[in-house]
Amino acid sequence: MHANDAKALKQSLNYPLYTEKNTEAYEVNCPTSIRNNAAGSGRASLIKLTNVWKIYQMGEVDFAALRGIDLEIYEGEFLVVLGPSGSGKSTLMNLIGCLDLPSKGKVSLNSKDISGLDESELARIRGQMIGFIFQSFNLISTLNTLENVMLPLEFQEEDTTRARKRVEYLLEIVGLSDKKQNLPSQLSGGQRQRVAIARSLVVNPPIILADEPTGNLDSKTGSYILEFLDGLNKKEGKTIIIVTHDLEIIKHATRVVYLRDGEIEKIEIREKSDFGE
């Protein structure tokens, strides 16, 4: 099963994510400025963290999970945030993903400060700008593959016919066209993660945010998932942010942020990338 998953994904990499037909059919949500820049023209800043602190109250004592993080993430990057457990990388991911607000400091998305936004504004930003991929896939157990992938579009109140077309196209890309009616429990781990990837791409967000995406997969399936993400980055210009403690992932990165005890230890620019400070 896993071998098949890998094969399917490998094949799917050859598909363009947006054919002309589909781009035409699917124009919602993504701000035009980002889409235009997404071709990889330059170093437009997408996410900017300025002196970000996150402090948790644990009983009597305060615990600072993040201590004054300064980080700028550019369009078209493949950024890996690496750190041991307890380094604050999940907290960082929550802030980048607009799931949480900092205790101190500023998080800007697309040059817009998000700290003042209310919950429904944040939900709108998440829904339109960020595709989430989780370690444990986080599919809705009572919905089938098709419905799971369609869900973000429903929250964006997309027209059902258009949404369905889009979902079927994406399922074809991830090679799950024959599993549309399956519930998550009827899918293998690799297949579930592919559903999750399709779901993260369905609103065509400029950012894909993945939290240990290969953590629950065997190494072979995992590496193909990474290749798929790599392809999204190279071919579609998607900004990929992966939070992990898996050193293997580094080889796909254009930049690696090493996190330790809530602080940035070092930032490493890799390959022929022209990103960086």
Binding site: N94, G97, L99, D100, E119, S120, A123, R124, R126, G127, Q128, F132, F134, N138, L139, I140, S141, T142, L143, E147, M150, L151, P152, E154, F155, Q156, R199, S200, V203
Partner: protein, 407 residues
């Protein structure tokens, strides 16, 4: 689609639904039974002449007895040796609002026809006013007339059910050894009147044992209209208290019963009984509501991580709220459908297990009206929404980070 993610025919959902089914079924069933009873009583009341008042000797403080059921006893306390006489009828003469007042006697006597014997109720009535007092109609023949003597008008039951051979108009029956000619047969009423024999009082007094001339078992009064009945009844009481020289309330030896008051109390009693039973049924609905709330709370807890996921992929608080409210509304709706079906079954089964809603034949059969069905369904959905509101609100207010971390 997204709205249907909680209800996945889990056993728990069905158990929750059962709670609502029973509640709605009970409410719908009881209301329909109550409606049927009330309709049946109303149709009976419509047949009655609500402007009539009956005065009987004896006085009982509990005046709720319905007169005439199965016997000729028109109320009153037989242990008190009080009599109504000509004088009482005369005393009523000056009261405004009275159209007629006439004494009646009654008794149970042996009646034979074609060689068969039966004991039947005989009423001696004033032929002149009797036909105005009661809304009786003849099936054949005629009603009593002032010149009549030893003739009778008989109920349909007497004519066709008591004796092997049916009695026809102009045939002769024998009461206490005296020949009486039947001049009319009444239409079937479905009540005690079907087994009654009516005769002119002057003749009846000679046939009924212990009857005396000028002494009555009851006095029938007809008021001008329904509106004045209450006033007339009160005036009659006052007049008779004076004319019968009653000083002390305890010495009172007569009763004035207005049919209208009785009808009202019966109707009131019925509706309060329906209300009471409905309240009991409502308790089971409340239990059902608590069941839904409980299920929804558990469901919210169970789905915490999925709620977090949905928020991460763009669900707004409102979306989450709607999902959960819609789901509990669905539980209510499905429960409501089965509940209405149960209610229909209950109201259909009641008569079968011998709980006759009506006295006698021709009563209304309980049925669930479309309005009641919609009411039951709406009630169930409403209960679903209300009991799902709090859990849904809690789900919607969850912080996405916390929800995602939940295991």
């Amino acid at each position: 689609m997204a709205l249907n993610m909680l209800l996945h025919s889990k056993l728990r959902s069905w158990l929750t639904i059962v709670g609502i089914v029973i509640g709605v079924g009970a409410v719908v069933g009881i209301i329909s039974l109550g409606d049927a009873m009330e309709a049946s009583v109303q149709s009976r009341l419509a047949d009655m002449d609500l402007s009539s008042i009956t005065i009987t000797p004896g006085y009982s403080r509990a005046q709720s007895r319905i007169p005439g059921h199965g016997s000729n006893d028109w109320g009153g306390n037989p242990t008190i040796d009080a009599k109504l006489t000509d004088r009482d009828v005369d005393a009523l003469g000056g009261i405004e609002g009275i159209v007629y007042a006439a004494g009646e006697i009654s008794g149970r006597e042996g009646v034979s026809y074609a060689g068969e014997n039966a004991t039947l109720s005989i009423s001696g009535v004033d032929p002149q006013v009797w036909k105005y007092m009661k809304s009786l109609e003849v099936e054949s023949g005629r009603l009593l007339e002032p010149a009549d003597k030893y003739v009778a008008v008989i109920g349909s039951g007497v004519a066709s059910k008591i004796y092997k051979k049916n009695i026809g108009v102009n045939q002769v029956i024998t009461i206490n050894g005296k020949s009486v000619r039947v001049v009319g047969i009444l239409k079937e009423e479905g009540g005690f009147e079907d087994r009654q024999i009516y005769m002119p009082i002057d003749a009846a007094v000679n046939l009924i044992t212990d009857a005396e001339k000028g002494v009555f078992d009851s006095i029938q009064v007809k008021a001008q209209n329904v509106e004045v009945v209450d006033t007339v009844a009160t005036t009659i009481e006052k007049k008779l208290i004076i004319s019968r020289h009653i000083v002390n309330e305890n010495d009172r030896d007569f009763s004035v019963i207005a049919l209208k008051a009785m009808a009202q109390s019966v109707t009131t009693m019925l509706s309060s009984m329906t209300l009471f039973l409905g309240a009991i049924a409502a308790v089971s609905l409340i239990v059902g509501a608590v069941g839904i709330a409980n299920t929804m709370f558990t469901s919210v807890l169970e789905k915490t991580k999925e709620i977090g996921t949905m928020k991460a992929i763009g669900a707004k608080n409102r979306d989450i709220l709607m999902i959960f409210v819609f789901n509990s509304a669905m539980v209510g709706f499905v429960g409501g459908i089965f509940g209405v079906i149960l209610g229909v079954l209950i109201s259909a089964l009641f008569p079968m297990i011998g709980m006759t809603v009506t006295s006698g034949e021709g009563g209304a059969i309980p049925s669930v009206s479309p309005g009641l069905m919609i009411f039951g369904l709406a009630l169930a959905v409403l209960i679903g929404v209300i009991s799902g509101a709090v859990p849904a609100y809690r789900a919607s207010k969850m912080k996405p980070v916390d929800a995602l971390r939940y295991e």
